[in-house]
C-alpha cells in the first residue's frame, strides 16, 4: 500500500505537488457536483417535465406503443447477444455478474434514476418489465443454442428477433405523427434512421473512391470532399430554406424530413472514408486469391474484400454513429426540431421556472442522457475492438 502510494503519488517533490494540486481540484469538483446534485439542485423542474424531455408531445394514450417497442427491442438485442453461434463458455456466476455490472451498470443506474424521477408505480413496473424482457431474451437466445433452432440460417434468426421491434416501431409511427415525437426519442430516431439510410450510399462512395475507373473515382472523391468541407450546421440551415426547391412540389418537407436528408447525405461522406480505411486494410493477397479462383471483380468485392473491410472498421462505424447521435442536437437549433437539448432549454423558460436560473438542472439532465448514451456505446465499441483484435497485431 505504502509502496503503491510512493510509486504512484509521490515519486519526487514536483510529483508530490502535482498530486496535491490535482487531488484538490478533483475533490473540489466532486464536492461541488455532489452538493449540486443532493443539496442545491431543484430537480422538480425535471420531474414535472420528465415526459416532455423523454418523448416530447407524444400522445399519452399511445405511449404504451413506445413501451412495447422498447421491450421488444431489449428482448431482441439480448436474445441476439445470447444466441450467437459458438460454444457457450462456462463462466463463474460472480464473474458474470461483475462483467454485466461493468457493462450495464451505468445504464441500469440511469434507468433507476429515471424511475425515481418518474416517481410512480407505472414507471417502476415498466422497469421490471424491461428486466423481464432482458431475462426472457437471454433464455430465448440460449434455447436457440441447445435446440433445433440452431439449424436456422443466421439471417432468419436475426429477423425473428428484430421484426417484432421494427413492426411495433412502424405501428407507433403510423399511430402518432412524427411531428408529435420529440425529446430524447427524436434524437434516437434521427440518428438510427439516418445511419441506416446512409449505409448503402457510404459503401457505394467508398467503393467508388477506390475504383480503378477514373470517372467514378473523381465523382465520389468530389462528393466526399465537398461534404466534408462544409459545416453540418450550415447544411441544415440551407436545407431549412432550400430543400423544397429540389424535390417535386408534391412533397412538402417537414423539419424531420429535412434533418434526416441532411444527416444522411452528410454522414454518408464520413462513413465512406471510414469504410475506405477498412478496404485499404485488407491485404492484396485476399483479392488476388479471389482472382486465382476465377471470381469476377463484383464477386471479389461482395464476398471477399467488403465483408472483411466492414468487419474491421466496426469500432470506427460506431464512433461515427456516436458523433451523429451527438450532432442530432443541431437539428433543434437549425430546424426547430423538438429534440432533447431544445426541450431542455425551453423548459427553463416556462412560466413557473422563468428567470430562476434552473439552466444548470435542465442542462445537467440533458447532458447526463447524452453522456450515458455515448459513453455506453463507446465502451461497447472498445469491447468489440478487443474481440476483433483489430487494434492488436
Amino acid at each position: 500500500m505504502i509502496t503503491w502510494i510512493r510509486r504512484n503519488l509521490f515519486r519526487s517533490v514536483t510529483d508530490g505537488i502535482l498530486t496535491i494540486l490535482s487531488s484538490a481540484l478533483l475533490f473540489y469538483v466532486i464536492w461541488q457536483a455532489l452538493q449540486f446534485v443532493f443539496v442545491t439542485g431543484r430537480w422538480e423542474i425535471i420531474q414535472v417535465n420528465l415526459k416532455i424531455l423523454l418523448v416530447g408531445r407524444f400522445p399519452d394514450e399511445l405511449i404504451y406503443l413506445l413501451g412495447f417497442s422498447l421491450l421488444a427491442l431489449v428482448f431482441g438485442i439480448s436474445s441476439l447477444a445470447a444466441g450467437g453461434r459458438g460454444p457457450g463458455k462456462q463462466i463463474k456466476l460472480a464473474r458474470t455478474i461483475w462483467e454485466a455490472f461493468q457493462r450495464f451498470g451505468l445504464l441500469i443506474a440511469t434507468g433507476a434514476l429515471l424511475i425515481a424521477l418518474g416517481g410512480d408505480m407505472a414507471s417502476l413496473l415498466f422497469g421490471l418489465y424491461v428486466i423481464l424482457a432482458v431475462i426472457a431474451g437471454r433464455i430465448f437466445g440460449s434455447i436457440r443454442r441447445k435446440t433445433a433452432l440452431s439449424k436456422l440460417p443466421g439471417i432468419v434468426w436475426v429477423l425473428i428477433n428484430v421484426l417484432p421491434a421494427l413492426s411495433l416501431i412502424f405501428i407507433s409511427i403510423s399511430q402518432a405523427a412524427l411531428e408529435e415525437w420529440g425529446g430524447f426519442l427524436i434524437n434516437f430516431y434521427l440518428a438510427i434512421v439516418s445511419i441506416a439510410l446512409c449505409f448503402p450510399l457510404g459503401i457505394l462512395l467508398a467503393l467508388g473512391r477506390r475504383s480503378a475507373l477514373p470517372l467514378l473515382r473523381w465523382l465520389s472523391t468530389a462528393y466526399i470532399e465537398l461534404i466534408r468541407g462544409a459545416p453540418l450546421f450550415v447544411l441544415l440551415l440551407l436545407a431549412g430554406v432550400a430543400l423544397e426547391f429540389f424535390i417535386p412540389a408534391s412533397i412538402t418537407p417537414d423539419p424531420i424530413f429535412r434533418s434526416v436528408t441532411v444527416f444522411t447525405l452528410f454522414t454518408a461522406a464520413y462513413l465512406a472514408e471510414v469504410i475506405r480505411g477498412g478496404l485499404q486494410s485488407i491485404p492484396k493477397g485476399q483479392a488476388e486469391a479471389g482472382k486465382a479462383l476465377g471470381m469476377s471483380a463484383t464477386k471479389i468485392t461482395v464476398l471477399i474484400t467488403l465483408p472483411q473491410a466492414l468487419r474491421n472498421v466496426i469500432p470506427a462505424q460506431i464512433g461515427q454513429f456516436i458523433s451523429l447521435f451527438k450532432d442530432t442536437t443541431l437539428a433543434g437549433v437549425a430546424l426547430s426540431v423538438f429534440e432533447l437539448l431544445n426541450v431542455g432549454t425551453a423548459i427553463t423558460k416556462q412560466d413557473d421556472y422563468l428567470g430562476q436560473g434552473l439552466v444548470y438542472e435542465s442542462l445537467a439532465f440533458v447532458g447526463l442522457l447524452f453522456w450515458v448514451g455515448s459513453y455506453v456505446m463507446s465502451r461497447e465499441s472498445q469491447r468489440i475492438e478487443k474481440k476483433l483484435g483489430v487494434g492488436i497485431r
Partner: protein
C-alpha cells in the same frame, strides 16, 4: 499435352474489358447527370412558381444591422458584413486551434502520467467532455457560465487589477499602438529567431555540443520583441470598470468567450486522445533506448517520444483542426457574429436565403481546403522518408 482452348480472334465488344469499363463509367456519369438534371428541373419549376431572387445582387444592399465589438455601420453593404463575419470566424478558429492544441497535448500527456491523481484527472476530463454534444457545451457556457455565473458589471471580479470579468464580457490588458506595426514586429522576431536557431544548429553540429536551438530561438525572440517594444514606446493599458461598461484593454464579448471556451474544451478532449494514442504508438524500443543512454524523464519525452508521436498524430490532429473550424459555425446559436450568424441575419432581413447560405458554404469550403493544404504540407514535411 492437351491443347489449350483457342482464343477467338476478335473479342466481342460485350466481353472486351476496356469497352465494358468505359460503358460502366458512362452509365454512372449518365445516372449522376440524370439525378442532377432531375434536381435542376425541380429547382427551375419551383423557382418559377415562387419567384424569388437567385443571384448575388443582394450583396450590394445595405446591411441594416450592426456587429457588436466592431465599428461596422448599418448602411454598409451586406458584402462588408460577410467580410467581417469571415474575419471573426478566422479569429475564433486561429485562437481556438492554438489553445486547443496546447491544452490537448497537456491532457494527453497527463493521461499517461505515472502519477495516479494526474492520470485520473486527465481521464475524467477526456471521458466527460468527449461524450457530450458540442452544442450542449456551448449552450451551457453561454447560459450557465457567462450569463449566470459571471457577476454583473457593478460587482465585477477584478483579479490582480488586471482583468475585469463580468457578464458583459471579459476585459484583458492590451497594448497601445498600431496593430499592423506590432504584427510586423512579431513576424520579424519569429523570422530572426528561426534563422538564429538554424545557425545555432549548424554550429552545434560542427562542434558536437548540444544545440538547444529552441532556447536560443526563444531568447532571441523575446529580446527582439522587448527591444522594439521599448524603441517604439508601446505601453500596456489595463481595463477598468466605468459606468455600465469597461474602458481600456481588450474586451472579449461574452458570446466570443463562451464559443471559444467550449470549442477549446471540446476539441482539446479529442486532441488529448489522439496525442495519447500516438505516444503509445511510438515504438517501445525508442523509449527503452532513451532510458539506456540515461536521458532524464523530460528529455526522453521532449527529444525522443513527442517528436515521433507528433508525426503519427499529425493527420488526425489536422482533422480536428478542420472540425474546430467547421464547428465555429455553432457560434450562430449564441449570436456570436461569425459567418453563419451574419448569413442568418441577412436572410432574416430579407436577403434571398439560397444564395446567401450557398455563399457561406463555399466560404467554409475554401477555408477547409486551405487548412487541409497547410496540414498536408506539414504532414509531408514531417513524414518519415522511407526507402
Amino acid at each position: 499435352m492437351s491443347s489449350l482452348p483457342s482464343t477467338p480472334a476478335k473479342v466481342p465488344f460485350y466481353r472486351n474489358l476496356t469497352a465494358l469499363k468505359w460503358a460502366l463509367q458512362i452509365l454512372a456519369l449518365l445516372l449522376v447527370f440524370a439525378l442532377l438534371f432531375w434536381l435542376y428541373s425541380n429547382y427551375q419549376e419551383n423557382i418559377s412558381k415562387s419567384n424569388i431572387q437567385t443571384d448575388l445582387r443582394f450583396l450590394d444592399n445595405p446591411a441594416n444591422f450592426t456587429i457588436p465589438g466592431n465599428d461596422f455601420d448599418q448602411s454598409q453593404p451586406v458584402r462588408d458584413a460577410f467580410v467581417q463575419g469571415f474575419l471573426n470566424t478566422i479569429r475564433v478558429s486561429f485562437v481556438g486551434i492554438i489553445l486547443a492544441t496546447i491544452l490537448g497535448t497537456l491532457v494527453g500527456i497527463a493521461r499517461l502520467s505515472k502519477n495516479f491523481m494526474v492520470r485520473t484527472l486527465g481521464t475524467v476530463y477526456v471521458e466527460l467532455i468527449r461524450n457530450l454534444p458540442l452544442l450542449l457545451l456551448i449552450t451551457f457556457m453561454n447560459l450557465g457560465v457567462v450569463l449566470q455565473a459571471f457577476p454583473r458589471i457593478e460587482d465585477a471580479w477584478v483579479p490582480f487589477d488586471l482583468f475585469v470579468v463580468s457578464n458583459r464580457g471579459i476585459a484583458i490588458p492590451w497594448y497601445l499602438g498600431p496593430t499592423g506595426q506590432l504584427v510586423l514586429i512579431i513576424f520579424a522576431a519569429i523570422v530572426i529567431a528561426f534563422v538564429v536557431g538554424k545557425l545555432r544548429i549548424r554550429q552545434a553540429d560542427k562542434s558536437g555540443t548540444q544545440d538547444r536551438a529552441w532556447v536560443y530561438g526563444f531568447v532571441v525572440f523575446a529580446i527582439v520583441l522587448i527591444g522594439s517594444w521599448i524603441i517604439f514606446g508601446y505601453s500596456f493599458e489595463t481595463p477598468f470598470v466605468e459606468g455600465r461598461g469597461t474602458t481600456g484593454g481588450l474586451r472579449i464579448d461574452p458570446s466570443l468567450f463562451a464559443l471559444l471556451a467550449s470549442l477549446v474544451i471540446y476539441t482539446s478532449s479529442h486532441i488529448a486522445e489522439i496525442v495519447r494514442g500516438s505516444i503509445l504508438a511510438v515504438n517501445r524500443g525508442q523509449g527503452e533506448a532513451a532510458d539506456a543512454i540515461a536521458l532524464s524523464g523530460s528529455q526522453k519525452m521532449r527529444l525522443i517520444i513527442l517528436p515521433q508521436a507528433f508525426r503519427i498524430a499529425m493527420p488526425a490532429i489536422g482533422n480536428q483542426y478542420l472540425n474546430l473550424i467547421k464547428n465555429t459555425s455553432l457560434g450562430a446559436t449564441i449570436s456570436y457574429f461569425e459567418l453563419t450568424q451574419v448569413a442568418q441575419i441577412t436572410v432574416g432581413n430579407g436577403s434571398p436565403a439560397v444564395p446567401a447560405f450557398t455563399l457561406t458554404l463555399l466560404v467554409y469550403l475554401g477555408i477547409s481546403l486551405t487548412t487541409s493544404l497547410v496540414v498536408n504540407y506539414f504532414n509531408r514535411r514531417l513524414a518519415l522518408v522511407e526507402r
